[in-house]
Symmetry: C2
Subunit: 215 residues, 2 copies
Amino acid sequence: MLKTVTFQEIAEMDDLFRRTFVNSLTGFKSVCLIGTHNLQKQTNLAVFSQVFHIGANPPLIGILVRPDKSPRHTLQNIEATQEFTINHIREEFYKQAHQTSARYPRENSEFDTCELTPFYSSLLNAPYVREANIKMGLTLAQRVDIAINGTILLIGQVVEVMFPEECLWHDGYLDIEQAGSLTSSSLDGYHTTQRLARLKYAKTDLPPQEIIRSI
Amino acid sequence: MLKTVTFQEIAEMDDLFRRTFVNSLTGFKSVCLIGTHNLQKQTNLAVFSQVFHIGANPPLIGILVRPDKSPRHTLQNIEATQEFTINHIREEFYKQAHQTSARYPRENSEFDTCELTPFYSSLLNAPYVREANIKMGLTLAQRVDIAINGTILLIGQVVEVMFPEECLWHDGYLDIEQAGSLTSSSLDGYHTTQRLARLKYAKTDLPPQEIIRSI
């Protein structure tokens, strides 16, 4: 039975109900841990589902932050140090990843409270999550203030990417499913995936065709 | 074997390889058909994986557009008519959905060339996709130009949402997996999902707990 809900009915929903409902509408999302540190080298880890591709050349990734919400330590740290890491979440530690959203006091690193392991590379100081199979380091490239509701889009330039070598296809496709990356729904749903196919660049005179891995 | 790729190595990649690689990095994405029309009432349909939650109150959804890329008809139409629809893609028609990315001439509607069925509501003139289980209509609320690479974030306000009634949980969670919505990877990967769990709002003094559907 198809149900229709209008703008007016959304406006009249209970706050938490609306937040859960509207967050469902955009479909499946990325779900990552953002690793940061402050100028005193205290580390912070926050689960984010608002991670977006902005551009490939140069490689740019955006995260959307609410200044008044819990991951504000993330915003403060990125603005102070100009860097952060993005770490894909796997089934093996998704409950620990979710637990980073609890409001721990600033002096407690979520690495400790949620039992995840920091990992450092030589190219930046922000902490990676050792348990993540796919992880990348970024430097802050641009802050975009979204006037309509006060959210902030932080755009980072990719400095380095770490991934299991066997997950890289012949054409640049990084097989995030093979690497165990999860997807999320609304505010709190975690899902594994099963690929149907990759489809070739569409042509007007050809039916859809599948891309097969050649190496 | 963990492989590291640096900014410099990404810069030296072949264009298409880099595009496929960098588009993999942000993890799983939404995948939707954006329905628009022009002032002559010609309809257009384009597959998009850049669909983002911007805010819940008011309900705002953003789509990221490249002015120089194929879905430019979508940009032109939204700017002309100030409205668009977002339609979740299901396994039953994902190949047709992908096919909308072929460069059909403007006079050919992708509804015809890709064999999808337009559907209209009384609240706006933009076309919906009848085959989609979850669909929503939006009016343009704000255009944000991303200076760093010339992309454009179009933010729409949700006017109405249509979905299968049985997919709405007691707390506002719309079960997009039950509705058959797919997720995507990189530029061309389509995946079904399998939910591990929904996890309750995290508390510092409690371990992660699962949310069970009560109605």
